[in-house]
Symmetry: C2
Subunit: 207 residues, 2 copies
């Protein structure tokens, strides 16, 4: 079968793509990225997973991107220099954007110490009309160091880890995060509920 | 609040992670990757988007990864040398794996000319207990070249594009794809339905 131009028209576009609105209707939510930034051991991933659980219990599809599933895979060929950190965050930002395009609530939990890198990810989203919500998990370094669940601060202080944010590498706090969470003396579930409430206010939850 | 070790226990793990089974129950499907490989203009993306549409109409969450949303973003800093092609496919494979982990049916549409690169992506999935379904869109080069919707074969023949698969760069066909689609004389919808039927047979669709 050929068309007027003599080309086969057997393989061609028959349907419209599934749109963002289509996905919103199917999934009863708007894709968006919640970006958790803060020092190592500040509680970012703990809160992100608690948010994921709360959202799941409310019937929402969410997914946590964090060091465990990114640094061993997609970004396994990157180190911790400023350039590699920038490329790391850029790749994660691009992946988050794909997840949002697919309709998911994406919970990204990364130290992401540089303001410019986070700004790039925000721009990637906002230029595509996608919501980007920055959450600063504002835990003082002494509290992080007291927790130190993986013993990384201890190793960094002992000189066994170089370029460790908070010890021998800088952290630039956000100056206009959508939400700031103080974790000292707070319960994880309360922190997580603050995030879910914000999603509700922003119209993310619901068709 | 401190625990016996003297560490703050304010931020700690309270809930289990959302599991693959949890997601299957919520989304009424099992995450998996369908990997479409074939020459440029063989019909990969056209079929992938038709599958996405059929799945959407049946209430399933699927997402197409293809050159348009990958080469301009995540892999925008890669070229077309064998090394860069390998890194391109590796990154896409890692992203597909994250999508599958999140419970989505992931439709990856890439020339992916090298058998070893596709094998790596298969291994990434299968080593994590995830389904990987390779679909060879087996359109002869002369049919692809007759279609040539973007005029790329023409440019490659004119020497304006180097490393163009099928003209001046090799394509290694799969020797054990789960599905082979012959598009010449076939309708897109019929090709797409073959893929959806295979997903049904494999138990992907349903809780």
């Amino acid at each position: 079968m050929t068309n007027a131009s003599g080309k086969s028209d057997n393989v061609r576009w028959h349907h419209g793509h599934v749109t963002r609105d289509d996905r919103r209707g199917l999934m009863k939510q708007s894709g968006c990225t919640i970006w958790f930034t803060g020092l190592p051991a500040s509680g970012k991933s703990t809160i992100a997973f608690a948010v994921e659980r709360l959202l799941f219990e409310a019937g929402h599809a969410a997914y946590v991107l964090d060091g465990d599933n990114i640094r061993h895979g997609l970004c396994g060929n990157l180190g911790f220099s400023a350039d590699d950190r920038a490329e790391n965050i850029r790749r994660i930002g691009e992946v988050a954007r794909l997840f949002v395009d697919a309709g998911l609530i994406t919970l990204a939990s990364f130290v992401s110490p540089y303001r410019a890198d986070r700004q790039l990810v925000r721009s990637l989203h906002e230029s595509a009309g996608m919501s980007f919500i920055e959450v600063f998990v504002d835990t003082p370094v002494d509290a992080c160091e007291a927790r130190d669940p993986k013993g990384l601060y201890k190793q960094a202080r002992a000189g066994e880890i170089s370029q460790f944010t908070g010890v021998n590498d800088p952290y630039e706090p956000p100056d206009a995060a959508e939400l700031v969470i103080h974790t000292v003396g707070a319960k994880v579930d309360d922190c997580a509920r603050c995030v879910v409430e914000l999603l509700g206010q922003r119209g993310v939850l619901g068709a």
